[in-house]
């Protein structure tokens, strides 16, 4: 099998260079560019496995790059953007980006995100049945057939909504799911009250999973963006 190809788009040279070095040390191939137009071209011509995209590009808005790219391709996209631009991140995620990182980020974090996406991709290539009906990460076990959840030896009793949220997160484990995405999938509507229900639901879920508030083990909160179930 060919090594995965990763396209890095950032207008800052130093960032591109250290990303390239870090990505190549993982055994992936890497190409890079500093603007949106050539990013779209390279994405079409080289068909990379993952696109790492900085939202602040000199020639066009990163969100537009995502929208244009989504018209022709389903390449997974990881966004990089400065903190404080939460709305932009949500816009990018809703436009079809798969994950995001806040600048300045640590390289191991980016590599972890890349691994998550590659793993998800690998699953998609094979027929669904192969995917186990049992999801496990650390001590958390979700048996989707029996609709039961265990933490180690102990079974956890969840309400239907809590279970649905947990399964939703598990299906995209490692990836951030926006509040909007979750509420739409669980409650269906987009009533403002859903945010409240979601917060309470997550709070209860965290308590049932016995999360340490200073160091959550399973569910990571991304303030202003959404939630993520850890992957490794």
């Amino acid at each position: 099998m060919m090594e995965p190809l990763i396209l890095v788009v950032d207008d800052e040279k130093s960032i591109r260079s250290f990303l390239k070095v870090s990505i190549e040390t993982q055994g992936y191939k890497c190409i890079d560019t500093d603007n949106g137009a050539s990013a779209l071209m390279l994405a079409v011509s080289h068909n990379p496995d993952i696109l790492v995209l900085d939202l602040g590009l000199p020639d066009m808005d990163g969100v537009d790059v995502i929208k244009k790219l989504r018209e022709i391709s389903q390449i997974p996209i990881i966004i990089i953007s400065a903190r404080g631009h939460e709305r932009e991140k949500i816009k990018a995620l809703d436009a079809g980006a798969d994950d995001y990182l806040t600048k300045p980020f640590s390289v191991p974090e980016l590599l972890a995100r890349i691994r998550v996406i590659l793993r998800h991709k690998a699953f998609e290539k094979f027929p669904k049945e192969i995917e186990s009906a049992v999801f496990q990460v650390k001590d958390l076990v979700i048996d989707m057939d029996k609709r039961r959840v265990w933490l180690g030896e102990e079974e956890i009793h969840l309400t239907p909504n809590e279970y649905k949220v947990l399964v939703l997160l598990a299906e995209s484990h490692g990836k951030v799911l926006t509040h909007k995405y979750i509420t739409e999938h669980i409650w269906g509507g987009t009533i403002s009250d859903d945010t409240r229900s979601l917060r309470v639901c997550m709070g209860n879920l965290r308590r049932k999973l016995g999360e340490d508030p200073s160091q959550p083990e399973y569910i990571i909160t991304e303030i202003g963006v959404g939630y993520r179930l850890i992957d490794e």
């Binding site: 939460e86 409240r196 308590r207 508030p213 303030i223």
Partner: protein
């Protein structure tokens, strides 16, 4: 009394004079009849006892004088003189009790008596009037002086408006409006004394016309005469600064003296207004200077704060470059670790500076959403833990899920700053506790450390911009004066409050609260 005299007394109208003027007719007739009756009685008495005629004329002359003195009117002194002559003729010249005269000598007596009576009474009245004129002038001048003194003592434009409106209203007995305008023609202050009768369209137009043309408008002038009030511009060498409107409740226009009163008083108002404007300008300039100084302080503080970690990064990396081959892997790794930590610190600082400038420029849009307080804490703690692995950071949250309406990213920044401060100012290996609880409708956040704490004298200063605690010599010089002041700005923008106190036995507790719905769960 003549029209002119009446005018000068305009500011006394509310007092007693008017009543005397109006109800005076019967009273004066009564006075005249009474005095003439007394005169006649006395004359009769003296006539029948001593039979001395010339005294009688004197008595009547005295009567005329008294009447003119009391009635203060030429007309009445004329009446009195005529009546006196007739009475004298009727009662005391032969044939008695008729207006006939036997002795033609008496005709001269009558004539002289009439002339003397009339002239002396006229003189009396004149003296009386002059005295009153002097008195009125004095009162007028002292009133002006009084107003001027009050005007000079005002402390602000608002006070100037209310004092001038109040004084004019008091002396005129009318409703008064004072409006001041800014340089762009916008109304900057308005004060109404008495009832607001200045609201009609005609009044509004008259006022604006007076402002724009610089001429009096409204009632009693050719322009907008349907208005209920008279408007006069207040101007100085820089143009029209405001307008004074005075309601006209009696007659169709104000009295002449009222106009002249305004001629004197309005320039005074203009002068004081200009003084206030100059003062405000000066004040503004002072504030600009202050702001500029603050900005300079910030730059100085920021560059100082930047230099420390930058020096670290530069020193470590240049040493590593120069001695790369001579360094062991372990040392290299340590160097890189230090560079990473310094860069991280720089990043946190940049974050704070960005947020602070956004707050200073007033262009922060709070991105308010329903957030779970514990999620924000967890995010902040995990963020700080990445580089502060030498401290034990504990989080205590209640069983209840506390929801707050807040900008999650900013509140996270507050907690990150508080934690970073706690990390900087407490020894390695010590415990830092983040404590969340509910107090009524408040979600209270506390960050406690057990470092050396803050001296009591400094407690009140820690939220000041660019302030840096000087007590803790043990810690790195990574002070961040902006951090706490930004926290304060953010918390206050959420209608919350942030306070700092000392922990027992030592250390610092910074606590802040945000509002939370009681029935959130």
């Amino acid at each position: 009394m003549s029209e002119e005299d009446n005018d000068i007394k305009f500011f006394k109208l509310s007092k007693s004079k008017m009543g005397v003027q109006k109800g005076g007719f019967y009273k004066k007739i009564l006075i005249m009849v009474l005095i003439m009756f007394v005169c006649t009685m006395v004359s009769m008495l003296s006539y029948y006892i001593v039979m001395f005629e010339s005294n009688i004329v004197m008595i009547y002359l005295l009567g005329i004088l008294m009447i003119s003195y009391l009635a203060e009117s030429y007309l009445y002194s004329l009446y009195a003189s005529v009546v006196a002559v007739l009475l004298y003729n009727f009662f005391f010249t032969e044939p008695f009790y008729t207006f006939k005269v036997n002795d033609p000598n008496y005709l001269l007596t009558f004539f002289v008596m009439f002339i003397v009576g009339f002239i002396t009474s006229m003189l009396t009245i004149r003296v009386n009037l002059e005295r009153q004129l002097v008195e009125d002038r004095e009162e007028y001048i002292s009133a002006l002086y009084d107003i001027e003194k009050k005007l000079l003592n005002v402390k602000s434009r608002e006070e100037l408006a209310s004092v001038s409106a109040g004084e004019i209203a008091r002396y005129f007995g009318e409703n008064v409006v004072v409006r001041f305008f800014g340089s762009e023609g916008e109304q900057i202050h308005s004060h109404i004394e008495g009832a607001d009768v200045f609201g009609s369209a005609a009044d509004h137009s008259a006022c604006m016309e007076a402002y724009e043309s610089g001429n009096p408008c409204g009632r009693g002038t050719p322009l907008f005469s349907t208005a209920r009030a008279y408007y006069r511009p207040i101007f100085n060498q820089y143009g029209v600064q405001g307008v004074i409107g005075i309601s006209v409740s009696k007659g169709n226009e104000l009295l002449q003296a009222q106009y002249s009163f305004m001629d004197v008083i309005i320039p005074q108002i203009a002068v004081v207004l200009q003084r206030e404007k100059n003062y405000e300008k000066q004040q503004k300039a002072q504030m600009e200077i202050q702001k500029e100084r603050l900005r300079a302080d910030m730059l100085r503080s920021v560059s100082h704060d930047f230099r420390t970690p930058l020096a670290g990064v530069m020193g470590l990396s240049s040493t590593a470059l120069d001695n790369y081959d001579k360094m062991s892997d372990e040392v290299r790794k340590k160097f890189l670790q230090s560079i990473y930590e310094d860069a991280n610190w720089l990043n946190e600082m940049v974050e704070n500076i960005l947020q602070t400038t956004r707050f200073e420029e007033g262009r922060v849009n709070l991105n308010i959403a329903e957030e779970a307080a514990e999620e924000i804490i967890t995010e902040a703690v995990t963020h700080v833990k990445k580089h502060a692995n030498k401290h034990k950071i504990l989080v205590k949250i209640p069983d209840e899920i506390i929801l707050i309406r807040a900008d999650g990213v900013l509140i996270r920044q507050v907690i990150v700053n508080l934690l970073n401060n706690a990390v900087s100012y407490s020894p390695e290996g010590s415990e830092i506790i983040v404590f969340l609880h509910r107090e009524g409708d408040r979600a209270v956040f506390e960050v406690k450390d057990n470092g050396p704490g803050i001296a009591n004298a400094e407690l009140s200063h820690v939220f000041e911009r660019y302030y840096r605690s000087g007590t803790s010599g043990a810690v790195k010089s990574k002070g961040m004066g902006l951090g706490l002041s930004l926290c304060k700005s953010i918390v206050e923008a959420h209608n919350g409050e942030i306070t700092v106190r000392n922990n027992v036995p030592h250390g610092t507790i910074v606590s802040f609260y945000l509002l939370s719905d009681k029935e959130s769960i």
